[in-house]
């Protein structure tokens, strides 16, 4: 058991840290505080630089041309990657080429050629559509979008909400109910091209989030060929959950990164800002806020790394869902509290757009809901606790 990063992990983390501090943060001084993308020339320049560093497509497995980082290393990297104003939802403004839609790795070779590889090369964009107006936390019951067979094709009708990037995408993964009698085993994942008749972006959903706004989409008799079923019919949720569970680790790590950055700002400011003739850092009220922050940051980090380590040792998401749920619930809630305290220490500046804290506060509020709200994570934890054979010890 070794609780220290190895030499390669240190090198990657330091490289990413330097990149964020030297390339991204200086650019942000010129951008709108709510900006979520770079001017095209800067994006191209920095993407080229990241490719030269060998870190493009950070979360892409080696067999698909990525660096093939393990989950622990990815967690360490995402903690660094998010430490700038737009970092929560637009880490490094996407120049590291993190893609999501890892479900496509399980596609057929034809699907990979048509969708996955162009997406990894940055030529095509995709979206992920699971949540519906009827709910997102319990998709097995909430999904009302229907797909029915018509000859060899499937015809999809329904709507999806809070879908990021659909208005700019070439295709998306759409989950639809193919057999209402089978519950969670009656949901199938389809690859839907956005130029298919019947597919429409209904509206942008304006939220607290600055980066990559959400959309609502409608599918009105969208015809999908059989070769665009991803995985087996009825196994859509298994495909989704495998990836969603793993994503919650980097999601938590990015939340932690913002907490670390906020704490760094708060510690620095508390030593510089004087009230009633003494620095804030000498006031116990302030010290305790910073102490609480530090305890929560360190607790969150170990929970995330434990989940990441378990993921690296597991063959199925079921094996590390418990640890991931604990990490996600704690890290996102803790990061929100850390940023809240950092704002309190900064006073009026904390809520102004002069500093990134107000944006982090808004976007962290969403993190407590996104990728499965805290209450659903707690549900997962409770199920495991009562599943029999509870053993709370490490060994």
């Amino acid at each position: 058991m070794d609780l220290q990063p190895d030499e390669q992990q240190r090198m990657i983390v330091q490289t990413v840290r330097r990149f964020i501090r030297e390339e991204i943060i200086p650019l942000e001084r010129e951008l709108d505080p709510d900006a979520f993308e770079l001017p095209p020339e800067e994006e191209a320049r920095l993407t080229k630089k990241v490719r030269e560093m060998g870190l493009y497509g950070l979360d892409v497995p080696a067999e698909f041309g990525g660096p093939g980082l393990d989950t622990v290393t990815l967690a360490l990297v995402f903690e660094e990657l998010s430490q700038h104003r737009a970092g929560l939802y637009a880490p490094a403004y996407g120049v590291f080429g993190t893609v999501g839609l890892a479900q496509l790795y399980r596609g057929t070779e034809e699907q990979r050629q048509k969708y996955l590889y162009p997406m990894l090369r940055g030529e095509k964009r995709g979206f992920f559509a699971l949540t519906e107006p009827s709910g997102g936390s319990d998709p097995a019951r909430a999904i009302q979008t229907r797909a029915v067979r018509d000859g060899d094709d499937w015809v999809i009708t329904g709507s999806k909400i809070f879908i990021s990037g659909a208005d700019r995408a070439d295709f998306g993964l759409v989950y639809a109910r193919t057999d209402p009698a089978k519950g969670r085993q009656g949901i199938t994942c389809f690859i839907v091209e956005t130029n298919t008749p019947g597919f429409a972006i209904r509206r942008i959903v304006h939220t607290l989030r600055s980066a990559e706004y959400a959309t609502e989409i409608t599918l009105d008799g969208v015809r999908v060929p059989p070769e665009n079923v991803l995985g087996e019919e009825g196994q859509g949720l298994d495909i989704a959950n495998e990836v969603l569970t793993r994503n919650r680790i980097t999601y938590s790590a990015a939340s932690l990164g913002v907490a670390v950055a906020a704490q760094r700002m708060a510690v620095d400011y508390a030593q510089k800002r004087e009230t009633f003739g003494a620095p804030l850092s000498t006031r116990q009220a302030i010290q305790w806020m910073l102490i609480d922050n530090e305890i929560e940051i360190r607790s969150a980090r170990w929970l995330i790394l434990q989940a990441a380590d378990k993921a690296d040792r597991s063959t199925s998401a079921r094996d590390y869902r418990f640890e991931t749920a604990i990490a996600k619930a704690f890290a996102t809630e803790a990061a929100f509290r850390v940023v809240d305290r950092a704002i309190q220490i900064h006073g009026g500046y904390g809520v102004s757009k002069d500093l990134p804290l107000e944006r982090w506060f808004r976007e962290l509020r969403i993190r407590r809901i996104g990728e499965g709200p805290t209450e659903v994570q707690r549900l997962i934890i409770a199920r495991q606790l009562f599943s029999g054979g509870y053993n709370g010890s490490l060994v």
């Binding site: 709108d32 095209p40 008749p197 429409a200 972006i201 942008i204 939220t207 600055s210």
Partner: protein
């Protein structure tokens, strides 16, 4: 498009325009949209400053300098996503972007797309 009535620009009424974050449209005398803009976090005096610069003598935008006659605005903290939405809706309806935005390049790096009905040619709600 913004669902607000057009207003003529009157320098004496400048302070009636809120100095807050938001989005706005500048139109010509016939009510055609010339420019869609936003007052963001770097704006010193918010909508008031951003709208006024289209009607001032130092306006660098040749389109609004020549043709601006009226404006309308919406106060919103979601100014960037609303700006994208307004530009996308404008493009969907007109198959081009506002002349004033094109003249100065005040456009997002990438614009999304909604979907027009193939039958009516109008945006499908």
């Amino acid at each position: 498009m913004l669902r607000k009535p057009w207003q003529p620009f009157d320098p004496a009424q400048l302070k009636a325009i809120p100095a807050t974050l938001g989005v706005y449209e500048v139109g010509d005398a016939e009510g055609r949209i010339l420019y869609i803009g936003y007052a963001g976090g770097r704006s010193l005096f918010g909508l008031r400053e951003e709208i006024a610069r289209h009607f001032g003598p130092d306006n660098p935008n040749p389109v609004t300098r020549e043709q601006a006659a009226r404006f309308r605005y919406e106060v919103t903290l979601s100014y960037l996503s609303r700006w994208y939405e307004l530009l996308t809706l404008y493009y969907e309806a007109n198959q081009r972007l506002p002349e004033g935005n094109l003249a100065t390049g005040d456009l997002p790096p990438k614009l999304g797309r909604f979907h027009l009905s193939p039958i009516t040619g109008r945006w499908q709600p």
